[in-house]
Subunit: 331 residues, 2 copies
């Protein structure tokens, strides 16, 4: 079968997705009987459309030489003949825009949606889910939480006799990197943050990470999808890591613990805050890794660990979602 | 829909499965439209049959009062009208028996099979897979590796665009418990083993664990199913933990490592042996927990952690397999 794609967002994630799509073209056809045709790309400044399919390698290598035209993205999403919108635009957890409008427009014009953007889901999770369900369309968002960790796809085929009681996780790689180094090397937050910024692990404005905004948005998506909650970003109690001192990290280490920024979703509680984790515990994972741990009535506790970000890692999730959509379209 | 089950093996795993099946009866019906009827139980001494369905609570509470009859298990498996054999008999990694004959007999008489017994699969993986495929029957074995860790079911719906390059794991809870305590407390193998035996974590004959026989059998199943290898138990290079000293454990800890019994499957290598794992690494997990880590081309490394044994934990895997079988039967 073949699927026609529109990509919105041509940053690291969007480009990474196209690169992997190109690389996996043969595998997708052979293993999944899936042929992909990219019919439009929407970036901040301009749109590229070819109803016969854009050449991905050309797009990646000679972006600036191509004829990007000035059109309204919403019109393109609405009017182009396509099956799936792949939505990789930048995150805004307060308004969900511009992703929110992109996704609604795609669903309203009968297109399935795959997104890596947590903003729209943190703002209007059930509105989006219902809009998709009403039209029998797929809305997949594996890439929004935990990077390459396949949490949502895992739960579609695993632990189906279990009752999931609660979720705990390390959902932000930047703060995990910072806390790991503070604990291991006894360094101050300021110093490690500066180095992380130089390495490109932290952004120049680190507020989303340090103030736990990013993991709180991800927690909302986990809680709604897995525990069936009706949570929004504002419902999450947030305590960031800005007050963690080198001394606190050193004391934790000395007593067999580490300080981690832990997100928790359970009955009556939605919270992201720094906590002590015993060394050797499944959530004691260093560097930029993310962790998602499910407490259940039978399996007790199942923990998934993986890279929390990165263009290829995010593409792993997007491609798996794409295969899911193709299976849903077939059935 | 309804499924008729035969259970073979009435030890901890078999009983735990029945207990959970009873407890989840209402959930299975409501959430999965699945009604289960247990038509026969085969234990070492005797068989209990009721084509109208045995009462599970009676079976669990008044086992000795029931009329177990002396029949050939293979005849029962062959002749009773049932849809699924749930095979929980004891493991023998050299012959695969008695499980191997039970499973072949079930498949030959048109019954799907769910097993928690690694013996048959370690001995004759592809023979069994082909026998099932030839007849369009399901053969599920989530419970054979990593206890409640849903590794096989996860890979059926996740990481499908990724190429799995290699597998590493801690596949034996007993030795992980022993090594964890040796590292943390600086104790000798003999001492910790004796305590583990008193706690029921290690068996009175600990050879299967200490000599890495149990994890080697599990590695064969992982390598065949996930990497498509054609491996048998004899192909695994095995080094147990009997030579690990308290001094070695102490030295590892001092330099920021732990000693773990690691199973590895990759091109040209199948091995279980003690290795140094950096503290804070996803495989640095203490106690009786198991770990399975997949290296892939896109997601880099995805690690799953969970309880490696226990009757309820194993039932989590068996019940999920049962739901899988019911879905396959329907489609």
């Amino acid at each position: 079968m073949s699927l026609r794609l529109i990509l919105v967002g041509f940053g690291n994630v969007g480009r990474g997705f196209l690169r992997v799509l190109n690389e996996k073209r043969e595998t997708l056809e052979r293993k999944h009987d899936l042929e992909i045709s990219l019919v439009a790309v929407i970036r901040r400044r301009g749109v590229l459309v070819d109803e016969n399919g854009l050449r991905i390698s050309e797009l990646l290598e000679r972006e600036s030489e191509l004829r990007w035209i000035d059109e309204n993205p919403l019109d393109v999403i609405r009017e182009i003949d396509a099956d799936v919108l792949v939505e990789c635009s930048p995150t805004n957890v307060e308004t969900g825009e511009p992703g929110l409008s992109y996704i609604y427009t795609a669903l309203e014009s009968g297109k399935h949606v795959i997104t890596s953007n947590k903003g729209p889901l943190a703002v209007d999770f059930w509105g989006l889910k219902k809009a998709a369900a009403r039209r029998g369309l797929e809305l997949r968002f594996e890439a929004t939480v935990g990077g390459a960790i396949p949490i949502f796809s895992t739960l579609r085929s695993s632990l189906r006799g279990d009752e999931i009681i609660s979720i705990r996780g390390i959902l932000n790689g930047t703060t995990n990197y910072i806390l790991s180094r503070m604990c291991k090397e006894g360094l101050s937050l300021e110093l490690v943050l500066r180095e992380a910024q130089e390495l490109g692990i932290a952004e120049s404005d680190p507020t989303y990470d340090i103030e736990a905004i990013d993991p709180a948005a991800k927690l909302v998506i986990l809680a709604n999808e897995i525990l069936g909650m009706d949570a929004r970003f504002q419902d999450v109690k947030r305590i960031g890591i800005s007050r963690i001192t080198a001394e606190a990290a050193r004391m934790a280490m000395k007593h067999g613990y580490k300080i981690k920024l832990i997100a928790i979703a359970e009955e009556e509680r939605l919270e992201v805050s720094p906590r002590l984790i015993p060394q050797g515990h499944p959530m004691d994972v260093d560097g930029t890794l993310n962790v998602i741990s499910l407490k259940t009535d039978l399996a007790r506790e199942i923990t998934l660990v993986g890279p929390g970000a990165g263009p290829r890692e995010t593409a792993s999730a997007l491609i798996n979602d794409l295969i899911d959509v193709s299976l849903a379209v077939r059935s």
